[in-house]
Point group: C2
Chain length 162, copies 2
Amino acid sequence: MTTEEKIKKELIQRFGDAYKAFGLSKLMGHIIALLLFSPEPLSLDEITKQLGRSKGPISQLVRRLRDKHLIRKVWMPGNNRKDFYEVEPEVFEHAFRNNLELIKNNTRIAKQLKEKVKSAKNGSLHPVDQRMVEMEKFYLLMEIHFNSFLTAWTKERKKIYK
Amino acid sequence: MTTEEKIKKELIQRFGDAYKAFGLSKLMGHIIALLLFSPEPLSLDEITKQLGRSKGPISQLVRRLRDKHLIRKVWMPGNNRKDFYEVEPEVFEHAFRNNLELIKNNTRIAKQLKEKVKSAKNGSLHPVDQRMVEMEKFYLLMEIHFNSFLTAWTKERKKIYK
DNA sequence: TTTAACGTTTGAAAATTATCAAACGACGAT
DNA sequence: ATCGTCGTTTGATAATTTTCAAACGTTAAA
């Protein structure tokens, strides 16, 4: 096995683990890693072949990755039949934004539960109320900092790819 | 069912979903939510009873929650046999820090792969190299902003619980 | 010292999720 | 118009994860 193949294998491996750690499908990580490594866009057939899986799951996960804006379809001249894919230029940013949605959901939980506790207030304040207030503030502040990170990154990225 | 019970049920439900969305066990979310709602620390028996599960999984997940610093054991006077648990005062911060570890792991992946590509450089630069450079910068910048969020939160939290 | 309650561990069962092979519909190519 | 290739869908199977019940060791209470 050449050095390049070893690197490719490790990239696939580690992206799989990372995706799983974030609660996503391991195979999704494999697909991203493979496309990340490939200098050229790959067809579904290529992906299935290189990852040694069958068409079913690849087709489904490629769709999900597209929904998440992590990869995109690219038109290849001279091949009107096959779909080719490559990673989105802003993969990392999009991956982060997907995570941001989960954060926002937490803010929503806190806000809604807080309201419900408040409206059901029966004289004595329930301790969970205080916690929900804290939780909402926590995630709101987090959203602010996450957004400021995104602006900072946009600037930084321009420097890299100018 | 009283309003309070409805709120409790919804809290448990939604924390379960949220935990699952972050790739953790749904039951872990249930335990946290239950403890979050309870004004008093709960024993393992209470938790198993209230969640309608058996001792095995509760025992295991309580340990994992403790490892993650999301809940803690609390000594109860007059009850030397049972272990009682409550949520850590800084649950949200600790939950965030756990996530930060995953982020740091991503930084590590980028750094390591980048090095390997560089050391294996065979004349023509492989496109994955550029991507790894970008990835590392992305997650390093993220770490900076995450840390600044944590400092900001520490300040904010003092205001709430002063 | 004995007993009983407690938390942990463990092997099996249940439930969920991932994966495959095959069938299908769509659409260029011939 | 027909054929063949492509991506999707689907029902069955495999693999993984979750859950339970029972056995176990430990330790406070009697």
